[in-house]
């Protein structure tokens, strides 16, 4: 299976994962600072800032776009519970 790497800038850890993994699943395992609530793209608790590798994440769904818009977030923010890493590497931190 294709591999990818996600780096959590706040704890300095990089995790090699299978392509298609949601960021929140990895964050939870390594105890990064990304916190979550509903995990269903509704509450906006897990908003993260993508520092690098934006293009390596899955496109936001209409629902995610709406939650991000409702929360008035800055550029390059995503929901960790929705964003999947598709390949390459990505660096994130809590927004």
């Amino acid at each position: 299976m294709a591999k990818a790497q996600v780096t959590f800038a706040d704890i300095g850890e990089t995790v090699t994962v299978s392509a298609g993994t949601r960021i929140i699943e990895v964050s939870e395992k390594v105890n990064a600072g990304l916190v979550y609530g509903c995990r269903e793209g509704d509450c906006g608790t897990c908003i993260m800032q993508v520092l690098d590798g934006w293009e390596n994440l899955s496109q936001p769904s209409v629902l995610e776009e709406k939650v991000l818009r409702d929360n008035n977030v800055g550029r390059h923010c995503r929901l960790a519970c929705q964003a999947q890493i598709l390949g390459g590497s990505v660096t994130v931190k809590p927004a």
Binding site: G12, E13, T14, V15, T16, N31, D42, G44, D70, N72
Partner: protein, 425 residues
Amino acid sequence: MTAQAQRPINVAQTRDAVPISSRVHWIGALDPTLRTFDIILKTANGTTYNAYLVRGQDGVAVIDTVKEKFSDEFFQRLESVANYDDIRVIVLNHLEPDHTGALPELMRRAPHARLYISHKAQRMLKGLLKQESFDFTPVTTNDTVSLGDCTLRFLNTPYLHWPDTQCTYLEEEAILFSGDAFGCHFCDPRLFNDLVGDFRFSFEYYYAHIMRPFREHVLAALELIEPLHLKIIAPTHGPILRDQPARYVARFRELTEPRLKKESTDKTLLVFYLSSYGNTAKMAEAVYAGASEIEGVRVSLYDLEGGAVEPFVDLIEDAEGIALGTPTINGDATKAMWDLLSSLVVINLQGKVGAVFGSYGWSGEAVGMLEDRLRGLKVRVPVPGIRVKLIPTEEELEACRQFGRQLAEIMTDKQKPKVIDFEDL
């Protein structure tokens, strides 16, 4: 301040609106018999649900409403100074039910009104009104709405104390409608801070339980509020602050300062333990000794059996890390440890490092339970906890020392960047 406004008014004897300035009336409700608010807050003499009406040349704005069961009082006061057809603007500074209980009925009665809420309030509004479509305008800092000769300016102040919270500033009157900020649960029918009884304890108690967990957000809000010229602060609970309002802003600034001044720039690791036969105590001493070897970390060791919880909460608020040691008794962690953890809800723990260790006799569930609780409190638990069956051996104590070193290194960013495989987690 006008002579009329200075005259004591007993709101309990009337259902009329109360003028607080030339353009603004209080149209809230009193709840003097309430003794517990939201299950957790004691209210020695009740509370108030403050709502306000602003009259401009081009119409009327209603700012916040009241808890549903006090709707009649709210509508009577509103009707004493305005017609529903005049209402063009409804502002909700936040959507907790004690301020939005009368909203659905108000929207029904005021067909020309438009709703102004923060961006984060939109999804809450949907839950509140149980309608798929409704008209509203989401606003953020420096957005304005005009009533002709007066302007309402919005300040986005999230987490004071819900994510959707905002304040609204009436520029021409220098009145800040502050939502729950600068409020308190204190009911006095004389309404104004220069007339009511001594409410300092309520103000401080309210801050400690409602605002303290969101200290960083309070500081961000103060950056927006401190530059404002303020004649009156009109919060959603408790007295209207017309006498020296800036003092209350300054007090918020003081209350956001750390309770205990740090004595050095080192990172702080606090090791708490409880021990029935001295085994968890030995582990705690080893964790303490290991962490103390790392430069840049100041480590303290406390036997929870000998301490009151409150001072520890203050210490933890300003520490970067906590390590908790507990034996397992009847398949559970010790009560004093749970008491400490349950007391931490009044502070913000996000981003702190946590760790757990403990000796056990039979099953040893306590360590995992406390780790789960720490994660629930948004504490990072980067090092797996250590469990020792009964009396720790020298090797096990060395593992505890290493555990302490590792924690201290993480706190001082001395650990090397790690690359790990998800499969190994």
